[in-house]
Amino acid sequence: MPQAGPGVSPVEGVTYVGIDTLQEQTRLKALRRGYTFNLLVVGRSGLGKSTFVNTLFKATVARRKSGEEEPLPSTTEVKTVSSSLSEGGVRLNLTITDTPGFGDHINNENCWEPIVSYIEAQYGRYLQEEQKVDRLLHIPDTRIHCCVYFIPPTGHSLSSLDVEVLQRLDKIVNVVPVVAKADTLTLEERAAFKERIRADLSDHAIKVYPLQEYEDLDDAPENMKIRERLPFAVVGSTTWHEIHGKKLLGRRSNWGLVEVENKSHNDFAYMRDMLIRTHMQDLIGSTAERHYENFRRARLSTKTTSKVNIVNGQDTDHMEDLNESKI
């Protein structure tokens, strides 16, 4: 039944037009095409990144270190693992990008460089596709939609490395900071730690997702709640335990069982809800609308002026690529 808008008189005779089927049509189309989501996890080794991602999507999607340790890469590497998940007929092409070797060395200067250039390379690739004369209708989207940054649970504050990396990442991608291995901290310690991290983030003007400036008014109260809880203190686990007949995901120690899904134990449930159930589309959209557009603007405006501004070391390469691709 079409709704009567202001100034529009309801149609007499109640003929059903069928505008509301638009929603259904988009849904069917999306189902056929499937969604793409690219997640980047950044953090030192041993913080439980792979476990967390596996827990999040309830499937082995991340590159997991086996029992025998792989040799530590001498510089930060960027490795991707793609998988296709399906739930309720909805297909999700999920790509998890991992960064082994980040922050693990004695000298960690510029360990963020490979990550930043990877993100910008993805934007560059999309831009290239977009600018082709003969371009695909549906450009494969490899841009990073969300970056989860793992903070080690020291209990003090953000380390200098964290601050450096976050300052660089928040301008090019949606960053969600997360306190890893939250079962190290008691509840009071956790609250104090989060306070200090929030203070540090605002001191250094690091803008984390959800961004305050660009949100719709409808989302504001929800985002406010999320922001109060930032950074999420999570625990990841893929082992099931049985307690009182119930099967639970968690970590069992001699003194108790840490439940992953229990909201009083950690923020995993909140994080999962935000990341997947409520804000996933927003993440994808904001990457396309905001971060990609920023990148595009910067890239194209430097191209129009005869001088080449070296924004980052990759610029000249991309310039050549762009020129070559113009057929």
């Binding site: 530590l72 693990d104 000298n107 200067e109 490395l161 291995k181 970590r251 120690s253 003194w255 134990h265």
Partner: protein, 551 residues
């Protein structure tokens, strides 16, 4: 072989036993024969052990009371067979050395009645208690691993309290070494505890050489002790050397980080390192075991020598505890209530971790082994092994002869060779560096000079152009002037030459009139400038004439 050894031993016992008064160092030598390997590695075992290993005297024992060294030697010869002579020679040399050291040692004899030297331990004890003990403990690790909390838990007092907060609460930019001295008393025994903390370790983005301040500190302490020891007037030396270093490993589950390996490799031959896995309540028991194995593997792989708790016989519990190395610990500043008792622990929503529960973490084994059983051993190893190594290195490096015979890894010659090589390498490096710098400077100078040259040339050009422009202008003007003159001459029908003649004539007329009337001062003044003016500026006069003519 075995039988011959046994007979050898029994024969040895046999003739040593009869030594009532010979200075043969008998039982000491006999006892020293068997555990000869041991004294070089373990701290010098007190002579008490020697007689305990000597088996009871064999029945046939009648090599008379021949107690002079000469007869002893002859008996020795008789006892030896040709086969065993060689081994015996080696052992003999070792024995001789031990003999020199344990000269007055003899097989203990029970005394009848009570003399009273059984009281000696008590005297030693009382003296030591009066003097008090010193212990210096260093804690190293990244910030946030719970070092201060562990220290508080271990010594059951708030060494780092809210009044003077520990280093974790202060932001550090560079690695520093801070000491805190606390005097603890328990049952009348005083312990002066020095806690050395290293805030800022491993916290920066670039952590190269962050172990340098720590190494320097340790060596400084050794140096101080060495100086105290070498003084002519020696008073009671206060031992501030670092006796034990607790290295905190983050419970990441992946073993040692490159920083950990580097640090331990640099300090394992300077100080006793006890690796400790921090915040162990992060790990489940399986993960804990896995991590411990991983850490031990990596330590063995990198050939790091950590402190090994010595085995004591009859201490089964101790050896079980020893298997838990590296210790996975949890510390706590707060007490929580568990089943009515107040214990130190951490309260989580899913349970309570008790610090002093051996099922939960290895805090108890660590504390017991470090304080209750092996504190003295730690100090001894520091004194005898690490300090001696340092002393060797220091004194051999200076070039002087070393007084003590010490089992060290290199002899001084090899060390000198290495130093020479190092020196030449360094020289080469410096040379290349200087060459580079020189080249750079030359390039700079060249570029500057070329710039100046270009500059000068430009200026030259511009000046020349200006001059040419001026010249051409002047030429133009002169032409114009010529034109005018010609025009004027043509117009007036008279040339410049004639005008000049005329003016000269008028001047000569004036001068003659002046000569006649020299008294008129005003006129002379007026006329002399006129005179000079006409000579210097004929044109001026010419102009005046022109004006006159026109008028």
């Amino acid at each position: 072989m075995f039988r011959s050894q046994k007979t050898l031993q029994s024969k040895r016992e046999m003739f040593f036993k009869t030594d009532g008064g010979s200075g043969g160092g008998g039982s000491g030598g006999g006892g020293g024969g068997t555990p000869l390997a041991a004294p070089t590695t373990a701290p010098p075992a007190p002579p008490v052990t020697a007689p305990s290993t000597a088996p009871p005297p064999p029945p046939a024992n009648t090599t008379g009371p021949a107690s002079t060294p000469a007869s002893v030697a002859s008996i020795k010869e008789q006892l030896l067979t040709t086969k065993e002579r060689k081994e015996h020679k080696d052992e003999e040399n070792k024995e001789n050395k031990l003999v020199k050291e344990l000269v007055k040692e003899r097989r203990p004899r029970e005394v009848d009645g009570y003399v009273g030297f059984a009281n000696l331990p008590n005297q030693v004890y009382r003296k030591a208690v009066k003097r008090g003990f010193e212990f210096s403990l260093m804690v190293v690790g990244e910030s946030g691993l719970g070092k201060s909390t562990l220290i508080n838990s271990m010594f059951l007092s708030d060494i780092y309290s809210n009044d003077h907060p520990g280093p974790s609460h202060r932001v550090k930019k560079t690695v520093q070494v801070e000491t805190t001295k606390v005097l603890l008393k328990e049952n009348g025994v005083n312990l002066m505890l020095t806690v050395v903390d290293t805030p800022g370790f491993g916290d920066a983005v670039d952590n190269s050489d962050c172990w340098q301040p720590i190494t320097d500190y340790v060596e400084t302490k050794y140096e101080e002790y060495l100086n105290c020891e070498s003084r002519v007037n020696r008073t009671q030396i206060s031992d501030s050397r670092v006796h034990c270093c607790l290295y905190f490993i983050a419970p990441s589950g992946h073993g040692l980080k490159p920083l950990d390996v580097e640090f331990m490799r640099r300090l394992h031959d300077k100080v006793n390192i006890i690796p400790v896995i921090a915040k162990a309540d992060t790990l489940t028991p399986d993960e804990c075991q896995h991590l411990k194995k991983q850490v031990l593997n990596e330590i063995a792989q990198h050939k790091i020598k950590i402190y090994e708790f010595p085995d004591e016989e009859g201490d089964a519990a101790g050896s079980k505890m020893k298997q838990r190395v590296p210790f996975a610990v949890v510390g706590s500043n707060t007490t929580v209530e568990v089943e009515g008792k107040k214990v130190r622990g951490r309260k989580y929503p899913w349970g309570i971790v008790e610090v002093e529960n051996i099922e939960h973490c290895d805090f108890i084994p660590l504390r017991n082994m470090m304080i209750r059983t092996h504190m003295q051993d730690l100090k001894d190893v520091t004194n005898n092994v690490h300090y001696e190594n340092y002393r060797c290195r220091k004194l051999a490096g200076v070039g002087g002869a070393d007084g003590k015979i010490k089992v060290s890894n290199k002899n001084p010659l090899a060390q000198m060779e290495e130093e020479k090589k190092e020196h030449t390498n360094r020289m080469k490096k410096m040379e290349t560096e200087m060459e580079q710098v020189f080249e750079m400077k030359v390039k700079e100078k060249m570029s500057k000079l070329t710039e100046l040259e270009a500059d000068l040339q430009k200026r030259n050009e511009s000046m020349r152009k200006k001059l040419e422009a001026d010249l051409s202008e002047l030429d133009e003007e002169r032409e114009r002037f010529e034109h005018e003159r010609k025009a004027w001459e043509a117009a007036n029908g008279i040339t410049v030459e004639e005008l000049r003649r005329k003016s000269l004539e008028s001047i000569s007329r004036e001068t003659s009139s002046l000569a006649s009337s020299s008294t008129t001062s005003g006129g002379s003044q007026k006329s002399s400038p006129k005179f000079s003016r006409t000579y210097s500026l004929p044109r001026h006069k010419f102009k005046q004439n022109e004006q006159c003519n026109q008028q």
